[in-house]
Symmetry: C2
Subunit: 258 residues, 2 copies
């Protein structure tokens, strides 16, 4: 492996990652992860990895870790080494790092806290799964300090964006809503799966710019990410949230349960 | 050294750095760098390194690199290893990385381009020199693509913030202005030196939230960072900027020239 102490991934957060669920001997939704990583590389101006190289690295990581059950496979793709400073070198030689870790199926519904750290809607990086993930770390820490599981992040305009490690959906009556990517929202793989599944089942999905107050009229608030699928939100800022039958329906349609 | 492939610095941008000028056998403004790193560790909830450990690492790096003249010494301080995910471990064991690179004294006045990537004024990280520096990388790349040297970054409210690798000052008549830290501005070491020097010399310094249009009335726009000191801006978005005698006066007062 190249010298990671001088890799732009470490020095500048210049790189990307994917977290893929391994379940029953399968890399779940792997094509979607490969596709997102390729699109993200294009957005950042990085060379993209070949799908078969990613798959080999991921499977090797699971084998190396000796994991029997469910695993999270993290694939890290950096901008490689370069000289000092912000400018990338003429030839970019990314490092690929794969690591598998055991994960349990997600448990109880989550408790959310609205945190002070905002999403940067004014950067393309806010829509990508980049190595510059410190704001997410800070948002999570703030939620933990409040005794809850994850942080609800707003953007600088006060619009709802996402959780520190998940996308967010809710129902208003029969309609399903989720913050638009333009709000500084990670373009999540599971977010895409849910939008596709709901649309296919005739549930209208709206991608919105909505202020925090909009959630007062919401029911069935839930989070999505690649590891847990759909996870209902039990409470937001200490207030118990109403459920919505649409969430169970979506779990059935999308085959994703928490 | 610990396994950097699983260090939170690489995986999540969870960590900090300092870039210190080495000149004539001396780590320039070293106490200010140590102090900023300590304050930044406190802001992020990281343990702080001891000053003598930083100094030893920095001097060793210069020796190792065999540099005779001017050098940039980069000190990287990570949040260390942890399990999967955003949550930090109970005990944080940071990695310290030191690297010295030759640098020339800065040359010609810089050309700036206003870039599309915004500063995240809604995150404390925007005021710190963190490993999550990808927005700065993108801002610089945008400026290079426009054939210029660095990017002028606004925040999400459209207020002037800083350049990708420097702070920004300008004159309005006799008054010296610089964007307030609350605008999402890096709390630069040289920024602090210049404010102190100007104030000490009776030049009024105002820290402001100012829209891009405010620069139409500016003269003597200049950049500051620890490596170049003061660097005048020759042009902004292709428009040649008026100079101001105050800049030369500041160079004299602060003993920082480009």
């Amino acid at each position: 492996m190249s010298d990671l102490s001088q890799d732009r991934g470490l020095l500048l957060g210049d790189g990307l990652f994917e977290t893929v669920l391994w379940r029953e001997g399968e890399l779940v939704l792997f094509d979607r992860h490969v596709d997102r990583l390729a699109r993200s590389c294009m957005a950042l101006g990085l060379p993209k990895p070949e799908a078969h190289r990613l798959e080999t690295a991921a499977r090797d990581a699971v084998t190396r870790a000796g994991i029997e059950g469910r695993a999270a496979v993290r694939l890290t793709w950096t901008a490689g080494g370069s000289g000092r400073g912000l400018d990338r070198p003429e030839v970019i030689a990314p490092a690929l790092i794969a690591k598998a870790s055991s994960v349990a199926a997600a448990g109880a519904p989550v408790r959310l806290t609205t945190v002070s750290v905002r999403r940067n809607e004014g950067s393309p990086a806010s829509r990508l799964k980049t190595l510059a993930y410190l704001d997410n770390v800070l948002a999570r820490a703030e939620a933990r300090a409040a005794g809850t599981d994850d942080g609800l992040m707003l953007n600088n305009a006060g619009m709802i964006a996402c959780a520190a490690a998940a996308n967010l959906f809710w129902f208003e009556g029969e309609r399903l809503l989720t913050p638009a990517l333009a709000c500084g929202v990670l373009d999540g793989v599971m977010r895409g799966v849910i939008i596709d599944a709901a649309t296919g089942a005739g549930i209208a999905v709206e991608e919105v710019a909505a202020p925090r107050a909009r959630l007062a009229a919401a029911s069935g608030l839930f989070l999505t990410n690649s590891l847990v699928g759909i996870a209902p939100v039990a409470s937001l800022d200490g207030v118990t949230l109403p459920s919505n039958a649409g969430v169970e329906r979506l779990v059935g349609i999308s085959r994703w349960s928490w």
